[in-house]
Amino acid sequence: MRIQRFFSRSFVHFAVITIAFLWTLPTVGVLVSSFRPENDVKTSGWWNALKHPFEESVWTFKNYSDVINANGIGEAFVNTLVVTIPATILPITVAAFAAYAFAWMKFPGRDWLFAMVIGLMVVPLQVALIPILRLYTQTGIAGTFLGLWLAHTGFGLPLAIYLLYNYISQLPADLIESAKIDGASDFTAFMKIVLPLSTPAIASFAIFQFLWIWNDLLVSLVFLGTNKVLTVKLSELTGSLGNKWHLLTAGAFVSMVVPLAVFFALQRYFVRGLLAGSVKG
């Protein structure tokens, strides 16, 4: 019995470690490659670098400095920040006000409108591409950051409202009622009570939305013209620099730095966000 137990435990450890190792291997490969000199990257597999890890000629930072300066990845990084920060804050703000109204205010058509929000959660954003691009060309905001923020806000709203509503509607009714009896308006109740208490839900959604926009290719490709974001730039490099493998690796890692930092710093909220709303359109 004991021997059998030992074997099954070893099997579990073996399986877990193998799976985790295999899953990480592709990423590690590119991370290692990104620090190898151009010629090495193009002629031998990345695992060869690990055979002589202490030889200086095996490692270099040149790929990073090249890709950031000469290939416009540095500029794309700034553009991505400019796109991502407002496009995260806007939907949260708009959704928080709406979620409060759906949870604590009475107005005609409320239930129908909320059902519409739920329905819109799964609509593929592809539907928006042609009509919105036409609309943008007519109004002259095609290719601006503003146009892109608003588009991301629109696409992120259904999920944002749904997640924040689930949280805000569960807050104790007494809190909000007593504030009102003390003379607070809905606006004050929202700003002073509901918003501070909703920080966990807001944080979860913020991470979600942030990563989603940071990693988005399609929406930026269609709406952002000349100010290229990281994903667009990187996908161009994959095409035009088909033979410059060494630059691709460094470019890929530059694009991952921020998501990685967010992930490691706020993993708890990230998981909570995933658990709270798993249907995204």
Partner: protein, 367 residues
């Protein structure tokens, strides 16, 4: 929904009934200033000649703070209305109005328009009935795309859900669970484009010696395979990337549900002599049924719209086309708006059942 704001009480503070003179003057002034600043910053952002740093600075300030000022101003303007009943009737509009406006502009209106464009010709000029749809179903490339979408849905959903489930059960048994889990769901934070670059190094066949997979099979004396070009494997190669990205999601959700199963049920089964497999099939699977369904739905919807991976890896060549990529090509490159819209509508129709079920569930919960 348990309580509603009280709209007519006599506890209303005096300050809101008698609008102060200062407020009467300051709020319109603030409004005027915001409109001017707003117009100016819009001009800066549209101006291609403006210095980059200025554009970036203005963009961040407007994007981050502008929205809060806008809500605050609207609310203050509303407070200028003397009649309280009217005020409280209008207030919900300030709260939900912007959200509804955005939803209508960015999702409702486009859906209607896309449906409309899908029955018009290439340039959205003449009515062509269902021609775009019949063309789509007869066209060889699009037939391949439809077939591939099916492969993707079956392949990715099966492997990422089953994989996620097996991992959830296995990882639950070790003490370093959280580290192992992080390693599996790390790919989730990587963009599809980044994942594309990563997997290029796995699949590389040219230059020789660079690709890990070919080096690996080389150990067993197999010849290198062009994983992304060879038509018998390339779809699988692409699908594997998506499985790699999605399994973490399934793992996280399923693992949380697994931990919610009361431990005494499993312990009791063990005491009664149930083996690990019995526990898995008779306790774990039935308890996770609804969660599995949710995960499956989410993955199917995500896979249905898959675009980025195909776009950066093969751009649909060598019979790896999928609907979303075809839609993009018809729209962006061929400017065939009719066909492109019809392809989008195929995606919309495919998610329709999920939409209906979601709305139904939500209404039941609230009712």
């Amino acid at each position: 929904m348990s309580s509603q704001p009280q709209t007519s009480t006599n506890t209303e503070p005096r300050s809101r009934n008698n609008v102060g003179l200062a407020q009467m003057l300051l709020v319109p002034l603030a409004l005027l200033i915001s409109i001017l600043v707003g117009r100016w910053s819009l001009g800066v952002m549209k101006d291609a000649e403006a210095p980059r740093l200025l554009v970036v600075g203005v963009a961040l300030l407007v994007g981050v703070f502008g929205i809060w000022i806008a809500y605050w101003l609207c609310n203050e303007l509303l407070n200028l209305i003397p009649s309280e009943t009217l005020r409280e009737k209008i207030r919900p509009i300030i709260f939900v109005g912007p959200a509804l406006a955005l939803l209508i502009i960015y999702l409702v209106y486009p859906t209607v328009m896309t449906a409309y464009y899908s029955v018009l010709d290439k340039n959205s000029e003449a009515f062509v009935g269902l021609d775009n749809y019949t063309f789509a179903f007869k066209n060889r490339t699009i037939q391949i795309a439809l077939r591939n979408n099916l492969y993707w849905i079956v392949g990715v959903t099966t492997f990422s859900v089953v994989g996620g489930l097996i991992m959830a059960v296995l990882f639950d048994k070790v003490r370093y669970e959280s580290v192992a889990k992080s390693m599996i769901f790390l790919p989730m934070i990587i963009s599809f484009v980044g994942a594309g670059v990563i997997w290029r190094f796995m699949y590389a066949s040219n230059p020789p010696g660079v690709g890990l997979l070919n080096a690996f099979i080389g150990n067993f004396d197999y010849k290198p395979v062009a994983w992304l070009i060879n038509k018998s494997v390339n779809n699988i190669s692409l699908i594997v990337i998506m499985i790699w990205l999605q399994t973490g999601f399934c793992l996280v959700i399923l693992s949380a549900a697994l931990k919610a199963i009361p431990a005494d049920i499993i312990d009791a089964a063990r005491v009664d002599g149930a083996g690990e497999l019995d526990i898995f099939w008779r306790i774990i699977i039935p308890s996770l049924k609804t969660t599995i369904l949710t995960v499956v739905t989410t993955v199917v919807i995500a896979v249905l719209k898959v675009f980025d991976i195909v776009f950066v890896m093969t751009n649909g060549n060598y019979e790896t086309e999928v609907i979303a990529n075809r839609m993009f090509t018809e729209f962006f490159r061929n400017q065939n708006y009719g066909l492109s819209s019809a392809l989008t509508m195929i995606l919309v129709i495919a998610v329709l059942p999920v939409m209906i079920i979601n709305v139904r569930n939500a209404r039941r919960q609230r009712g």
